[in-house]
């Protein structure tokens, strides 16, 4: 069976796995973005807290993803739970760091001006600081998504959802004729998903970054 025949005969399964992969990464990215921006907002004003948040999330990134999943399985069991927790944790790092950098990079004069025209603290944050910090945060989201695509594949070893399952089916049947088709389909599927997500982020950037602050 060549690669195209393989794709044709398994397209139902492949489509399901691809959709599950995309949806797992997407949902964890939404979660990571919300938590990450909240952490950024809570800590960027304090030198100590901001640096602590950056250092902690950077330390999480150094942990091998298979080991992270290995530590989660005894606590939360196999399946979706360790996948979601691991993906969200790894997704946090670039977002927290870029949120803090972006918020700290906002010109204090602009915040002063916002206060001067009578904006509340919340309005300053929502209408001045976060929009100005949005481009680096979006960059963080892009970097994190690309990383999560690969980590989600590894999470399939702990019975997580997605394209990793096809790759591991190939690993289990190494030497058989279909092994290469399975691994190739899983790998290419992830590459295509990563590129699609990236294209969507470029589009989101076009639509949401005000023309005045575009690089």
């Amino acid at each position: 069976m060549n690669f195209w025949e393989f794709l044709e005969s398994r397209h139902q399964q492949l489509l399901t796995d691809t959709l599950q992969h995309a949806s797992a990464v997407f949902q964890c990215m939404v979660l990571a973005t919300v938590i990450g921006v909240l952490i950024g907002v809570a800590t960027y004003r304090s030198e100590l807290a901001g640096n602590f948040a950056t250092a902690t999330t950077a330390t999480i990134l150094t942990i091998p993803s298979l080991a992270m999943i290995g530590l989660l399985v005894p606590v939360v069991g196999l399946g979706v739970a360790p996948t979601v927790i691991a993906l969200t944790l790894y997704g946090l790092l670039p977002i927290v760091r870029n949120a803090i950098v972006g918020l700290r990079g906002v010109d204090p004069q602009l915040v002063d001006a916002a206060r001067g025209i009578g904006m509340s603290r919340l309005a300053q944050l929502l209408r001045v600081e976060l929009p100005l910090a949005w481009p680096p945060i979006l960059t963080g989201i892009r970097v994190a998504t690309q990383m999560l695509m690969g980590i989600a594949a590894i999470a399939a070893f702990a019975s997580g959802p997605g394209l990793g399952n096809i790759i591991f089916r190939g690993v289990a049947s190494l030497g058989s004729a279909n092994a290469i088709n399975q691994v190739l389909a899983g790998t290419l599927g992830i590459v295509i998903l990563a590129l699609l997500f990236d294209a969507v982020y470029v589009l989101i950037g076009r639509l949401t970054i005000p023309r005045g602050i575009r690089a």
Partner: protein, 293 residues
């Protein structure tokens, strides 16, 4: 001739008096801020890991030591059945050693390949190719490490050698991108000045460009080490050994103690290697570059 290049550390730790530590700390914090400012906009696709500060120098080994001690005490008291015993006994140190070997060999190879290639791609003859290489490198980041490794196994057969090739391919791209970025970021006025006082092309490279690019190259070394220690856990899926063996044995046989032990050791090893690389980064960075003018 090159004895006065700034790439040698001008001060080592023992002759740095205590009152200078605070100054160092302030400088490191300052540098960190500047670096973050620089990084804020163009941090696309690269995984730059954050530099170590002196506070973290003390914290990380202390935490790792406590965790390892706690794990050891738990292990001594744990009741293991025969399957778990079989997976663990006599199987821990060889796996740790394999893991360190995989990481070390692949890191050396990554540096031997990526840094000279990065230098070549910033020379005049090849400069035009650099954007294309970087675009391919960014695209390559979208390939999952697991898929890459398993495809290599299908192509070349199982074993440590295949695992090392996979690890090297995966880490070479970010280090290459880092090296090129480091050399490209050098103020052209400095290289012009060096040429102006009569330096040849290789002298400019050796005495001006490379010393100035040391911080970014060191950051690349650290990135490679951390990526490699992580990818090395996947070597188990290609029969390459390492601590991934314990983790996969734990999951496949449903023996949580084996899984837990393998994971804790992999985490501890990764944190220690990142810590060592961070300390090396702090010590080897040319002192003249700590205050940017």
């Amino acid at each position: 001739m090159s004895s006065d290049t700034p790439s040698k550390p001008s001060a080592s730790t023992e002759d740095r008096p205590a009152e200078l530590r605070d100054k160092d700390r302030a400088l490191v914090a300052e540098l960190e801020r500047e670096r973050q400012d620089r990084e804020a906009a163009p941090a696309t696709g690269e995984r730059v890991l954050d530099r170590l500060t002196w506070q973290r120098v003390a914290v990380v080994p202390a935490v790792v030591a406590v965790v390892l001690l706690a794990t050891w005490m738990w292990y001594r008291g744990a009741e293991l059945d025969s399957i778990a015993k079989q997976s663990i006994e006599g199987n821990v140190w060889p796996r740790v050693r394999e893991h360190i070997e995989l990481t070390a060999i692949s890191t050396v190879l990554v540096l031997i390949i990526a840094i000279p290639l990065g230098i070549a791609l910033t020379r005049r003859a090849l400069r035009g190719a650099a954007p294309y290489v970087l675009a391919v490198a960014n695209l390559g980041q979208a390939v999952p490490a697991l898929g890459l490794l398993v495809l290599l196994v299908i192509w070349r057969g199982i074993g440590a050698e295949t695992a090392i090739i996979g690890i090297v391919i995966y880490a070479a791209l970010p280090v290459l991108a880092n090296t090129i970025a480091g050399l490209q970021a050098i103020d052209p006025q400095l290289t012009e000045a060096a040429k102006g006082i009569g330096m040849s092309g290789s002298e400019v490279l050796r005495r001006v460009e490379l010393p100035l690019a040391v911080p970014l190259i060191l950051a690349g070394v650290r990135t490679a080490l951390v990526l490699n220690v992580g990818t090395a856990t996947l070597a188990t899926f290609g029969g390459g050994g390492g601590l991934g063996d314990l983790i996969t044995a734990g999951i496949t046989n449903q023996r949580m103690p084996v899984l837990f032990l393998g994971s804790v050791l992999a985490v501890a090893l990764a944190l220690l290697i990142d810590w060592l690389a961070g300390v090396a980064e702090l010590l080897l960075r040319p002192k003249g570059l700590e205050v940017r003018t």
